[in-house]
């Protein structure tokens, strides 16, 4: 018994064994490694975009409006992926767009997961009536289709990137609440928790130091999947004119701005969408790998 209590925090904070085990099973999944590689490139671009990009994303070259990419007739290597209707370099805008998408993913998952986990843990430990109340509120949020709810929330808050992120985080957080609560409910009555309680751990300590670390696997997987949902939904809001506002080089907003050129300049429509797809795909590949590596049941199957 006492052994177990001593052991649990160790696994949670500095576990050399499990991490290695995780990595070896993650590595088995070729898709996941591929996804991770793309994600690292994406991360690199997001951080160093201003250094890599040939121009500032909002610099206008009025002599080069809607110039096609370099390999097409009329293009030049000055603007490798062509220019947009205001003569801004597509490559520079796309590279900078990675920053926004990464930022959106991190902030949305950060806010959503933080509040979701907090509320979930509370619900798991709270008395029945409070638990019911919390879950009923989550049911209400989940009764609306996510994009519709986000759309109305942004309309209320005013269309901007920050507000779009807040709206998506609100829409995503019930998933974290449900997941955390379910995990807490299964873990709560295990022996090691009882032991910790007998050993005199306060409720807060038990909630967050003893139980939570053991519920993390499904939450991590959910966080990875939420990251891709956040990128997609933010782009969709941008596309509907309710996300980032021009001239922000956010990919969905770029797509919306370029829509009128759909028949004339394929590159302004195709490229931002392709960037969204590749990013989301890489994150989902990674998410699949994470789930397989963290969820022993599926690993066996």
């Amino acid at each position: 018994m006492t052994d177990q209590i001593a052991e649990v925090p160790v696994t949670a904070t500095a576990p050399p064994g499990p991490l290695k085990e995780f990595w070896s099973s993650f590595r088995e999944n070729r898709g996941a490694v591929f996804g991770l590689a793309i994600f690292l490139i994406f991360l690199f671009v997001a951080i160093f975009a201003p250094l890599i990009a040939p121009y500032a994303p909002d610099q206008q070259f009025r002599e080069h409006l809607l110039q096609p990419p370099a390999w097409q007739a009329g293009g030049s290597w000055e603007f490798p992926l062509g220019t947009d209707p205001l003569g801004r370099d597509m490559l520079s805008r796309l590279l900078n767009g990675a920053r926004y998408s990464f930022f959106i993913g991190v902030v949305v998952v950060g806010i959503g997961a933080f509040f979701g986990i907090l509320i979930g843990v509370i619900a798991g430990f709270a008395p029945k009536w409070a638990d019911t109340l919390i879950m009923r509120i989550m049911d209400i949020v989940l009764a609306f289709p996510s994009l519709l709810l986000a759309l109305v929330l942004v309309a209320i808050l005013g269309p901007s990137l920050i507000n779009a992120m807040i709206a998506i985080a609100i829409v995503l957080q019930p998933h974290f609440v449900r997941l955390t609560r379910a995990a807490v409910l299964t873990e709560k009555n295990r022996d090691y928790v009882t032991a910790a309680r007998v050993a005199g751990g306060g409720p807060i300590r038990i909630m967050f130091r003893t139980v939570l670390p053991n519920c993390l696997s499904p939450i991590i997987v959910q966080a990875a999947l939420s990251f891709s949902t956040a990128v997609l939904d933010a782009a969709a809001l941008g596309f509907l004119g309710m996300g980032a506002q021009p001239p922000t080089p956010e990919w969905g907003t770029m797509l919306a701005e370029a829509r009128e050129f759909i028949l004339r300049a394929w590159w302004v429509v195709t490229l931002p969408g392709l960037c969204i797809l590749i990013t989301v795909l890489a994150i989902n590949l990674m998410g699949d790998g994470l789930r397989d590596a963290l969820d022993p049941k599926l690993k066996r199957g």
Partner: protein, 335 residues
């Protein structure tokens, strides 16, 4: 069983009330001035503004407005659209068949393609076929569908001229639409070529809307099948010398379908969210597009009523799925 049903129904009522509060509160929180919007560049005088606000009931205290609203809901009255000056309920039910038709077709496509794909992938686990199918499914699952729709239009409508660009049927046809489902109405009309026209208009929006549910169903079917295939009774069946088709197709699939059916039921919300984008791009006269337009036009009553009705649909579908699931799987009932 009865107590399970009753319990489930009891949770429905407070959630529904919560939804009415949210729908109501959201609309009051929306910034902007619908009266100014109506008047345009010319603008209205402050006196006229106040007079209009009184006419539309905006000058009442909030609790009063909410009670009126609730009273209306109980009588099947969701108010009058600010823009068209017609009952919101009428507007909703004029447009709903279009969304329903599109969603049903999308679900049908997702099921008809997704389940076989998942089964084939599971049976060929680890082989090329499995990997190719699952990669495709993951691409579909990661697809920004508004972009996907534009690409399909560029290729199939503008490029190849295979499908029409938008709408539900060629305007050359004119017949009454008693059911609101263009596929059925076009058959009832007896006009030559009308059905084909309706089908050709449905294809691209259906494909776009089905993309994500299809990917989800294929992935879910595969993992459910893998689980079932490793169970004892399947091994027994195989040992008894039953043909692979009977083992995989009948025994395994039947059991694997239970979680898949749940996924299908739960994708209604995804579908309605997808309908917002799909209908906007294809000018499909359904409720998704209507909601977006109403939000932009600050049509308070329409947004409020639409939110409520859509949430109610999602809740009813979820309830049905839950109850069905409880019927199939008695273990849940106790939980």
């Amino acid at each position: 069983m009865l107590s399970f049903l009753v319990r489930r129904l009891l949770t429905f009522v407070p959630t529904f009330f919560g939804v009415t509060v949210i729908a109501f509160a959201f609309i009051r929180l929306l910034p902007g001035d619908p009266i100014a919007l109506l008047a345009g560049e010319r603008g209205v005088s402050p006196e006229r503004h106040a007079e209009l606000a009184r006419q539309f009931g905006f000058d009442q205290p909030l609790w009063r407005q909410y009670l009126d609203y609730l009273w209306g809901i109980l009588h099947g009255d969701l108010g009058i659209s600010f823009v068209t000056k017609k009952p919101v309920l009428t507007e909703f039910f004029t447009l709903f068949p279009a969304t329903l038709e599109l969603s049903l077709c999308a679900i049908l496509l997702a099921v008809l393609v997704g389940i076989p794909a998942g089964v084939i992938a599971a049976v060929n686990r680890g082989k090329f076929f499995d990997q190719a199918l699952m990669t495709t499914a993951l691409v579909g699952y990661s697809m920004p569908i508004f972009w996907w729709a534009l690409l399909l239009i560029i290729v199939f409508s503008s490029g190849l001229h295979w499908t029409p660009v938008s709408g539900r049927i060629s305007l050359m046809y004119f017949f009454p639409t008693p059911t609101g489902f263009m596929l059925i109405d076009s058959l009832l009309s007896g006009e030559k070529g009308a059905f084909a026209s309706a089908v050709s208009h449905l294809i691209l929006p259906t494909v776009v809307l089905a993309t994500i549910p299809l990917a989800v169903i294929a992935r879910q079917t595969r993992s459910a099948m893998l689980e079932v295939l490793s169970e004892d009774y399947v091994r027994t069946a195989r040992a008894k010398g039953l043909s692979p088709f009977r083992v995989n197709g009948i025994h395994a699939l039947r059991n694997a379908l239970i979680p898949v059916v749940t996924v299908i039921g739960l994708s209604v919300g995804t579908l309605l969210a997808g309908a917002i984008l799909t209908e906007t791009i294809f000018s499909w006269p359904g409720i998704g597009k209507w909601m977006v337009d109403s939000i932009f036009r600050r049509d308070y009553q329409a947004v409020q009523g639409g939110l409520l009705l859509i949430a109610a649909i999602v809740m009813i579908v979820n309830l049905t799925v839950d109850v069905l699931y409880g019927l199939i799987n008695p273990r849940i009932r106790k939980g």
